[in-house]
């Protein structure tokens, strides 16, 4: 993603919008993580919290959406510099659950059943992809052969 941002986003050719698609049947903590990310979005730190959540998952700092995980996410909120009380209130009241459900409904409507998945100007691309694959598609869309 950093390369895409540098070469395409920063040059005005590309925008990237993140939607939630927590795979709740196999990842029991993913729904709460999505809420943590969205609750950080309303305080302007969505992308930093997103990275923190991914790093935390790799390091097994959180697991199943338990109360311990809620505390961990609260600590993440503090570390990314957002208002902890506002964050906690947002998560515990499910303030962005409607957004997550809307994202999930859109994903299902588009035939997406795994992550990551990408819609690039309407074209579906499934699975993690190298930078070169994105660059090839984007270049073709910007300057058709």
């Amino acid at each position: 993603m950093p390369q895409l941002v540098k070469n395409y986003v920063d040059t005005g050719k590309l925008s990237i919008e993140i939607h939630d698609f927590p795979l709740t049947q196999i990842h029991t903590g993913a729904l709460m993580a999505a809420q943590a990310a969205d609750c950080s979005a309303e305080q302007g730190q969505f992308f930093l919290m997103r990275k923190t959540l991914f790093d935390g998952a790799v390091n097994k700092e959180w697991h199943d959406g338990s109360l311990d995980d809620l505390t961990t996410f609260g600590n993440y909120a503090t570390s990314v510099g957002i208002n902890r009380a506002q964050f906690d209130s947002c998560v515990t009241t499910n303030r962005h659950l409607a957004q997550i459900k809307a994202d999930m409904a859109l994903a299902q409507q588009l035939g997406i059943n795994s992550t990551p998945a990408f819609i690039i100007n309407g074209r579906l691309l499934m699975g993690a992809q190298p930078y070169t694959e994105f660059a090839k598609i984007i270049d073709t869309m910007i300057s058709p052969p």
């Binding site: 986003v9 993913a30 969505f46 998952a57 962005h96 990551p116 984007i138």
Partner: protein, 62 residues
Amino acid sequence: MQRFLPFWLGLLLLSLVACGFAPGSTTTTPNDTTLLSARVPNPRLIGEANAPVKIIEFSDYQ
């Protein structure tokens, strides 16, 4: 009267800022349940909204 105008304008601006109506005041308010994807600016989007290519990424966190 005219020499008091800056004072009254200043007071009006302070009142507007306090109420969140002034130009440039933040659009983020606690307890706002508007879908994030419907907000302007969209806090889950990076780049120009009118960029020629748009990627929507669907992601899980685990």
